[in-house]
Amino acid sequence: MLDCGLDMTSTLNFLPLPLVQSPRLSNLPGWSLKDGNAFLDKELKECSGHVFVDSVPEFCLPETELIDLSTVDVVLISNYHCMMALPYITERTGFTGTVYATEPTVQIGRLLMEELVSFIERVPKAQSASLWKNKDTQRLLPPPLKDAVEVSTWRRCYTMQEVNSALSKVQLVGYSQKTELFGAVQVTPLSSGYALGSSNWIIQSHYEKVSYVSGSSLLTTHPQPMDQASLKNSDVLVLTGLTQIPTANPDGMVGEFCSNLALTVRNGGNVLVPCYPSGVIYDLLECLYQYIDSAGLASVPFYFISPVANSSLEFSQIFAEWLCHNKQSKVYLPEPPFPHAELIQTNKLKHYPSIHGDFSNDFRQPCVVFTGHPSLRFGDVVHFMELWGKSSLNTVIFTEPDFSYLEALAPYQPLAMKCIYCPIDTRLNFMQVSKLLKEVQPLHVVCPEQYTQPPPAQSHRMDLMIDCQPPAMAYRRAEVLALPFKRRYEKIEIMPELADSLVPMEIKPGISLATVSAVLHTKDNKHVLQPPPRPAQPPSSKKRKRVSEDVPDCKVPKPLLSGSIPVDQLVQTLEKVGRPVSFPFSQPLLFRVATLFSLSLEQHGFSDIKVEDTAKGHIVLLQEAETLIQIEEDSTHIICDNDEMLRVRLRDLVLKFLQKF
């Protein structure tokens, strides 16, 4: 199984979970059907024309119908954003396999899950809505609830216990480390340049190579750069995790982010940045580190609020080997690789586990707050939205591309604060993909259907799709795709003693062949040629050995033939020496032997040979003898019904033209 991401957009259908009692949210009117039926008014609330489920948020799980997840042997994780559904799979499906991921992926993935669990568990909600999920009821609801897919499979968030248990099944791997899977294939993670520890995977057998490219970046940010060279010579390249916002250039967006932040703060407003606790935030903090002095923001406090804020900031500094070269070299100075250490030291950046406690004492405005969750449905961000939403001086700047900012903002309407959308997605865009594919040159590309056509809203943007030759194979949800290659060869090892016994013969310059007689031993998808058992010793005693019955019968093999038969020369030979003497069997044996001996000295050739060309070769026709020699590229047949001697003689003649070994 390649990755197991969690679709969190389902939470957008739910009301936010406020940290502090919100009169506005608790007083929202219940929603009733057009006919006035109000049986759903406890479950559904209306806010500015939108309907939300008033319940604990639920998540949409990976597809479980198509495949029995308990039969999955291996899960390969490419980055920490793509493992958020792991507890659902390892803990709730009977999964017994192994998960492979790099260390930073697991550590930061744990932080993300821990934050998610903490956001949801610290605001317990008694109510759990389920009536609305009834298919007949759902049909009556307004969009987008009406169109939500597979609502019956939506599940509440997992627990911390499940997270721990799931992560205990992870096997850590390092970049370029080769891992054998059941002897059948070898998997290798490669740096993908997107996030700390993010990987692309090579899955290869001896003769086939499949690359799985997911969430990769060619930009110079904090992680180790993408390893492109190792992706070359792939039979199939599975491509996914491209940028979600192909029209937004990350550099331009960072500029927008900084400008809008500065403008708001200069006007005395606060800036709210809903974000994940790891990833782009490191780059944003680095940008701000360079920018705040030039923008005159040195005195403005930056707050980072998350249950895992401290761990995230500290983890980032210790994964030196997973960082880009510049940051790695800082470690040897020694300096912290990320400049946020200095921001913390100089008190410009402060971090808190939540808005409760120390934060409320230190809180100073105007300020900039980084906090989660980017969906605006849970986490400390809900509080700041409620607090700052009423003033037009404040600004919320969306930098995470996973959620539609308009939908995220829907339960906060009407909203006075400014909203800026600066999605920063450093993953590959289509131009970079084209370059990558030209460089790597896979035989086939497999990707989601969405990548093979322009975005529906910008159908003219032919540049926003994958353009490669041969055209990419597209897949869609729940579709089974046959990858365009067959496993035609297996590698077989030859035991040294067997190899020693081989006597290669040069059949043409540079090419030698040897015949091998051996026993093929196959176990765990490994094939080994072992020396054949010695021919059974003739029984020394009259007792028969039982063992010899199990040993295969080892006859001396017939020699192998190679080469082609030159028809003209064959015909010439046949004309000269082809015909054997036939004599009646009624002659005495001695006479027959004597005649044969004398005739071999002066043989007679065939005089009535005809050669016909066929589609595959030639037919040499010996009319009088009613015999055919059918010569094709890979076979030769002598059809000679009644004269075995002639057949043998002809066979020997033909064999003279071929090499034997």
């Binding site: 937004a248 927008e256 403008l263 200069r266 360079q290 030039s294 943007r461 540049d463």
Partner: protein, 819 residues
């Protein structure tokens, strides 16, 4: 030749001839050659050789390869060429068989040193210099030099090959000049043998299958037609044009660049302009038709720049130039659109496919086309009617395609979208061209589109700093043209609306993390304020935006270029009374103290220079804060400036002083007669003014600057004092003070300053003393000395010879300085 030089020359020649004493510095040899060239131009070369036997010895020393280094060998050949320019000298050298030894086949040509490019180059240059007279021509023919030149055309060194081509052209021209004396452009058969040989070789090369030979032949012809405008060139063209036309039949056409150059050089030649050369124009037209769009572009531009050229050909050339843009329009416009110049001849020979063949080809062609059209637009001979509308449409479409906002309906348009999305090169070229198009009259609807696309670029976070700068330039040009164009007066109401959308974008740009963006935005804002600072709409919109406050804040920017631009912008805003409102200022005293603080404390030169420039502007324009107490202002500024380590700041300070002087001396010089005239600000009487200047320490500043170690400062000070002296000269109101004690003090100070002691200031000198000093100092002499370049002393031939002798045998690590 100076006797001193003459004395040193034998020693130098001995050194040069000695292979054990290598000449390290090539530039010395070059200077030596320059000197000899000057000498031979002024006096007889023969006499020089006779008087300085060492020279002939040096030249004849070059006998055996091991005797001489390649550099000196090359030098000797070039020196020989210089002397042999004069026919008598040539014969003198030839008598001694020196010429044959140096340039003949038995000379260096057969040596191993011939493999060194410097030697071959020296041979060609020597030959080129000496080939000036009939004797030289005979020598060339007899010595087989022409064949050597032919072979050098293919030389692996491009410099040598190019020089060989030049020499060939020179020899051809010389031989024709020699051969056609008295007769009028004879036909090819009657040409001198040497010329026939060269023309035959060129013709043969033109028919050669090797592209390099064709290129050389075309280059020779191009140079010939550019330099020689005698009637024989017409015959030459008549003879060779079939071979040239033959090149067009080949597949692919070889040496297209050189072919275009040749065709243009022929077309430009005055020989062909005066007559009806139908066949020539026909061939130019054929060439235009046969070349690919990228190759034909430069030819089309060249044709359109010609003064005399058939109209039909011009139309064809313009069509070729417009083709790529016509394709862009064709690929992106849904309906066929109104018939225009862009869809007439265009597209006939080039399909959209050609444009779309590859991204690099498409981008290259579009950039070339845009650059050519941009070059053509302002020319008086640009084609008429000029398709302003379609060109504007095409430029806007290109910018939209690059920005991703175009919505092409065809598949070709889609492909263009893919190729151009985010292409900075095309964006820059299109914005440049769009700016140029602001000069023409455009339909209002299109102008609105132009402003819309410009705004899109100014707002887009994806605009790179260079693209943004171009967008600013184009915007400024369009704003200027929209304001003044009489045909577009109805558009003026749109401009305030545009400003209303523009200022929020600028606000964001001023907060950009990229310093280049902040810098170019400030410059743009400065231009805007300069042009529209007086208009109510602009003022209202600007004051309502936060821009003035942001400009104020950028005075503290960490990047010095930005600080400098912020200073200039603030200077402009303040002049227009558009600066940030007082509550935003740290101190409510106006901007002068803040800028003075920058002037005295900024660690970088750019902001300080900007401050003095702003102050000078303010003084000139009578800025309110300056006019309140001008004297105090000038004293303070000069006090700070005089301490500045940056010479440009000091020069600017002198400029400010000069403005002050000009304002105060306006009529001081005419005092006896100007008394009755009404004056807005009557100038002070001269003694009082001089006293004031003394008190302001302006004169002290100027006198000190006179001895400044940086020449531009001293020059400026000299100009300033001359200006003051001239203004005060006619005024007889002052007594000559004679040897008053004050004068002595001033003189003493000056001497100290001249000696480099900067410490003690002048102690309040009397005006009379200052005036006397002013008159006693030889300012004119000083000015002329300062006008001489700094190495005038070291440039003398004597110094050169001495230097060369001094450095002989001393290897130095100055290879990197030698070219």
């Amino acid at each position: 030749m100076d006797p001193e030089c003459s004395q040193l020359l034998p020693a130098l020649c001995a050194v040069l001839a000695d292979p054990r004493q290598p000449v390290v510095d090539d530039t010395c040899l070059e200077k030596l050659l320059d000197w000899f060239k000057t000498l031979t131009e002024a006096e007889s070369g023969l006499q020089l050789l006779q008087e300085n036997a060492c020279l002939v010895e040096l030249l004849s020393h070059v006998r055996r390869p091991q005797d001489v280094s390649p550099r000196v060998l090359s030098f000797s050949m070039r020196l020989t060429g210089i002397f042999a320019t004069q026919e008598d000298c040539f014969q003198y050298l030839q008598q001694g068989e020196l010429l044959l030894r140096l340039f003949g086949e038995a000379g260096p040509l057969s040596w191993a040193a011939w493999n060194i490019p410097t030697v071959r180059s020296g041979w060609i240059q020597g030959m080129h210099t000496l080939a000036q007279h009939p004797s030289a021509l005979c020598f060339l023919s007899d010595s087989g030099a022409v064949d050597t030149i032919f072979s050098l055309q293919e030389d692996p060194s491009l410099f040598v090959a190019s020089a060989a081509n030049q020499l060939l052209v020179h020899v051809l021209a010389l031989s024709m000049q020699d051969g056609t004396v008295g007769s009028h452009s004879p036909q090819g058969g009657a040409w001198p043998t040497c010329a026939q040989k060269i023309v035959g070789h060129v013709e043969e090369s033109l028919r050669s299958p090797a592209a390099s030979q064709v290129t050389q032949a075309l280059n020779v012809l191009t140079t010939t037609f550019s330099r020689c405008h005698s009637p024989w060139t017409e015959v030459l063209w008549g003879q060779l044009s079939p071979a040239v036309a033959g090149l067009l039949e080949r597949e692919p056409i070889p040496a297209t660049h050189s072919l275009v150059d040749l065709v243009l050089s022929v077309a430009r030649s005055p020989v062909f302009s005066s007559m009806d050369h139908r066949s020539l124009w026909k061939m130019v037209g054929q060439t235009l038709g046969h070349l690919s769009p990228v190759q034909a572009g430069p030819l089309a531009l060249g044709i359109l720049k010609l003064q005399h050229c058939p109209q039909q050909l011009k139309t064809q050339a313009f069509g070729v130039l417009l083709q790529p843009l016509a394709c862009v329009l064709k690929a992106t416009v849904e309906a066929p659109g109104p018939p225009g110049l862009l869809d007439g001849t265009a597209g006939s020979s080039m399909s959209v496919d050609t444009l779309l063949s590859s991204k690099s080809a498409c981008v290259g062609l579009l950039c070339q086309t845009l650059a050519h059209l941009e070059e053509l637009q302002p020319l008086p001979q640009h084609p008429l009617p000029w398709p302003q509308g379609p060109l504007l449409g095409a430029s806007v479409t290109l910018l939209q395609l690059c920005g991703g906002s175009a919505t092409p309906s065809s598949s070709a348009g889609g492909r263009l979208c893919v190729m151009l999305a985010g292409c900075v090169r095309v964006q820059r070229a299109a914005l440049d061209f769009l700016g140029t198009l602001s000069q023409g009259t455009s339909p209002q609807e299109l102008v609105s589109q132009v402003f819309a696309v410009l705004l899109e670029y100014l707002e887009s976070p994806d605009s790179s700093p260079t693209v943004l700068k171009k967008a600013f330039q184009a915007t400024l040009q369009w704003l200027l043209s929209s304001s003044k164009a009489p045909g577009c007066s109805e558009l003026s109401p749109h401009i305030p609306l545009f400003f209303a959308e523009l200022f929020p974008a600028l606000r964001k740009r001023l907060c950009s993390p990229s310093w280049e963006v902040r810098d170019s935005t400030l410059e743009f804002l400065t231009h805007l304020s300069r042009h529209w600072g007086g208009q109510a709409d602009f003022r209202q919109a600007l004051l309502a935006s936060e821009l003035p406050v942001l400009v104020q804040q950028l005075l503290q920017d960490p990047e010095s270029y930005v600080r400098a631009s912020a200073v200039t912008a603030m200077g402009q805003l303040s002049s227009r009374r558009l600066q940030a409102r007082p509550e935003h200022l740290e101190a409510q005293q106006g901007p002068v103290p803040e800028l003075l603080h920058i002037l005295s404390s900024d660690s970088e030169g750019f902001p300080r220079r900007a401050v003095v420039q702003v102050f000078t502007e303010w003084l000139r324009d009578g800025h309110a804060d300056v006019a309140r107490d001008t004297k105090l202002f000038v004293t303070t500024v000069l006090q700070v400036v005089s301490q500045d380590l940056d010479w440009e700041v000091r020069v600017q300070g002198l400029e400010l002083a000069q403005v002050f002087l000009a304002q105060n001396l306006g009529c001081a010089g005419h005092c006896p007669y100007a008394m009755g005239l009404p004056e807005p600000a009557p100038p002070s009487p001269l003694p009082e003014l001089l006293r004031t200047l003394g008190q302001l320490r302006l004169l002290e500043f100027a006198f000190r600057a006179l001895f400044d170690c940086d020449r531009p400062v001293a020059q400026k000070a000299c100009d300033l004092l001359l200006f003051l002296r001239d203004k005060t000269a006619p005024c007889g109101g002052l007594q000559e003070p004679g040897g008053s004690p004050n004068l002595a003090a001033v003189e003493a100070s000056l001497q100290r300053w001249q000696a480099g002691e900067q410490g003690r200031p002048l102690e309040d000198p009397e005006p009379e003393a200052m005036l006397a000093i002013l008159r006693s100092v030889d300012l004119e002499g000083l000015r002329s000395r300062l006008a001489e370049s700094s190495d005038h002393v070291e440039k003398s031939p004597l110094s050169l010879l001495q230097d060369m002798l001094a450095t002989v045998g001393v290897p130095e690590d100055n290879e990197a300085d030698c070219y």
